[in-house]
């Protein structure tokens, strides 16, 4: 075995150029995979956190008919007397906050705005005294202040404010339809500008106090949802759908025919995108495999066919086919090891600044929605298990693809090998 290892090492150093080129191909493929996987994994993790902290919470309690109609943001399907349900949830260590989500048309007028205009927005009415138990909106106020109860004040995103030319203290009007369908207008004042890590919030959402919306929307105390946070930090190891099911059962036991939906169910666009990303990663892994396979096969074919006479001589001297196969496999494994090590270093070097400082996509994200709930800087993360898996895969793949040319060479007669020019 020692002899075979020495032989494989000698062969690697004998053909340095070939070894370096093949190993570089493997290193490039693996490095690319590591960087991309870390980048997507980082974006996925941060997206999930931002989705839960600013948009969906861990789960939401809704009227049974709401989910099917939620694109229209109806005020028809509501939760009556939410306080009673909050008490039940509080008693079970589940933080809950009431919200009313509605469609509105936002109007601004020339002076103080640069020009008059209107834009359709999503209105979210929240309870300023309770909302912090579930969401982290208060932390995102960049200018002005957070909402106070009973005021005709709104918070809007900095992105929207920049589009409208809005500043703190500017007036705006929301045209809405009440719970019963009547037109209503709400003259409001911008009390604060927010910049949330979730772009959905920055672009087209207006926040206002629940008590104010309750009056204008004729809600009579009803809300469209109760956002939940079953712990201080969302436990990713637990199945969110299972958790939602348990809370729903708890409500049913207390006589409430309501549904509880996990964040996964509430953000199907994001879940679909994450699944697509996973398919993308698999395709990249496959491409890495192809690069490695083609490189190693070529190298090994050359290595084997250049050394047919040498191979014949080795066989004539009494080396078994098994020993010869093992010697070539070790040589291929060596190339794989150098390539995988190079890929690991290359991937880590490129990944490091992405983890440390990230990549700012703000200009692009302002213009288009790519599904991720990240408003500007995408940060990679160190996905150590995947890096090690990629490292070992590089070595194993290199050895596996070398089997084919070795098998072909070993099928030749010894005499034919020795006659080979």
């Amino acid at each position: 075995m020692k002899f075979l290892l020495a032989l494989a090492f000698r062969n690697l150093t004998r053909y340095t150029k070939r070894t370096v080129i093949t190993a570089s191909a493997i290193a490039f493929g693996l490095g690319l995979f590591i960087v991309l996987d870390s980048f997507l994994k980082g974006a996925e993790m941060e997206s999930e956190i931002n989705l839960i902290n600013y948009e969906t919470a861990s789960a939401k309690v809704m009227h049974p008919a709401y989910l099917g109609e939620r694109d229209n943001l109806p005020l028809k399907y509501v939760i009556e007397e939410p306080e009673k349900i909050i008490d039940i949830l509080d008693g079970n260590s589940i933080a809950a906050t009431p919200r009313v989500v509605f469609k509105a048309e936002l109007f601004v007028r020339e002076d103080p705005y640069p020009e008059s205009g209107s834009v359709y927005v999503k209105g979210i009415a929240l309870d300023p005294s309770r909302d912090d138990e579930v969401f982290r909106l208060r932390e995102t106020v960049k200018k002005g202040r957070y909402l106070e109860e009973d005021e005709n004040g709104v918070l809007i995103g900095e992105w929207m404010a920049s589009d409208l030319g809005a500043r703190v203290g500017y007036p705006l009007t929301l045209r809405v339809r009440t719970r019963y369908g009547a037109y209503e207008t709400m003259d409001m004042e911008i009390v604060g500008l927010i910049n949330s890590p979730n772009p959905q919030i920055n672009k087209s959402t207006v926040f206002l106090p629940l008590s104010t919306a309750d009056y204008f929307l004729d809600m009579d105390g009803a809300v469209t949802e109760l956002a939940l946070s079953p712990g201080l930090t969302f436990d990713r190891s637990r199945d969110p759908d299972k958790m939602a099911g348990q809370i729903e059962k708890l409500l049913h036991t207390n006589g409430y025919d309501l549904q509880v939906h996990s964040w996964k169910k509430l953000a199907p666009d994001y879940v679909a995108m994450a699944a697509m990303k996973s398919t993308g990663s698999r395709i990249i892994l496959f491409l890495v495999f192809v690069i490695a396979a083609v490189g190693i096969t070529n190298t090994m074919l050359m290595a084997v066919f250049e050394r047919i006479r040498e191979l014949g001589m080795m066989r004539a001297m009494g080396m078994t086919d098994r020993q010869i196969r093992l010697s070539f496999l070790l040589e291929a494994g060596g190339i794989g090891l150098i390539g995988a090590l190079g890929g690991l270093i290359f991937g880590a070097l490129v990944n490091w600044p992405l983890v440390e400082w990230g990549w700012d996509f703000t200009p692009m994200l302002k213009q288009m929605d790519i599904g991720y709930r990240i408003s500007g800087v995408f940060r990679s993360m160190w996905n150590i298990p995947t890096m090690f898996r990629a490292f070992f895969a590089g070595i194993v793949i290199a050895m596996l693809v070398a089997l084919f040319p070795i098998r072909r060479a070993l099928k030749m007669q010894i005499t034919d090998c020795l006659r080979d020019e």
């Binding site: 109806p74 009440t178 009547a182 037109y183 209503e184 709400m186 003259d187």
Partner: protein, 242 residues
């Protein structure tokens, strides 16, 4: 002489006030509802980006049924069918019929200042609103009753409306629609009234979204025939796709 004039003015004012607001609305609706009607016209939608003209023809029967078929190039063959409290859209390219209901009723018709809800009409105004007299006013030389309509229920789209109704012809000349907070949402004006078979009908209507700058829709009826014979199947879903 001055005394006689004052007496005449008082007398005419008394005559104007002799009709109650409910009666004025009833007379307005009698004037507006036709057994059958056929019209051809244009809908001109204007916003800050410019104007778009769409042509149409329509058939109506009583206060419930109406069918509008667009004839302009971009919308050719698209139809809107209104039956009792139901609105259906037909798109010839997709060969698909869409029922407008719920919150979709609030959407505008072809990006105009009219919503599907504005088109549902049907019920008498007095079913949804309580009418009150706010006096008289003169609009373009026509003496008008100024009637305030206040919603009887929370589910009525406009919390209140002001209607200026011509006191001699019993047709509306101007209307204002308000939100519950009292903001003026929409203004409608009848720019042209024609007398057809003894009825006074607005044939040039302008609807403006008063919350938007430079947003208006003009509805012009170039041809209007009353009391024509219409195949009863015209207002059915089966016929909509033909």
């Amino acid at each position: 002489m001055r005394n006689i004039l004052a007496l005449l003015l008082m007398f005419s004012a008394t005559l104007l006030n002799a009709l109650g607001p409910d009666e004025i609305i009833r007379r307005l609706e009698e004037n507006q509802i036709h057994e059958t009607a056929y019209s051809e016209g244009r809908m001109i939608t204007t916003d800050k980006y410019g104007s778009i003209t769409r042509t149409f023809r329509s058939w109506a029967r009583g206060e419930e049924d109406a069918l509008i078929e667009f004839t302009s190039r971009g919308e050719e063959g698209q139809k809107i069918l209104r039956t009792e409290d139901e609105i259906y859209l037909y798109f010839p390219d997709a060969e698909d019929v869409l029922r407008i209901q719920g919150s979709a009723m609030r959407d505008s018709v072809m990006d105009s200042d009219f919503s599907y809800e504005d088109m549902t009409g049907g019920k008498s105004l007095l079913d949804d609103y309580s009418a009150g007299m706010e006096g008289t006013e003169t609009i373009d030389g026509n003496e008008c009753y100024k009637i305030r309509l206040t919603a009887k229920r929370r589910s009525v789209p406009y919390h209140s409306q002001l209607l200026w109704i011509d006191s001699s012809r019993f047709t509306w000349l101007k209307g204002h629609k308000f939100s519950r907070s009292g903001s003026l949402l929409k203004e409608m004006k009848a720019d042209e009234i024609k007398e057809i078979q003894g009825k006074f009908i607005p044939t040039r209507i302008r609807m403006e979204d008063k919350m938007k700058k430079d947003s208006s829709t003009e509805l012009i009826l170039d041809t209007l025939k009353l009391g024509i014979s219409i195949d009863p199947g015209t207002f059915s879903l089966e016929e909509l796709t033909w």
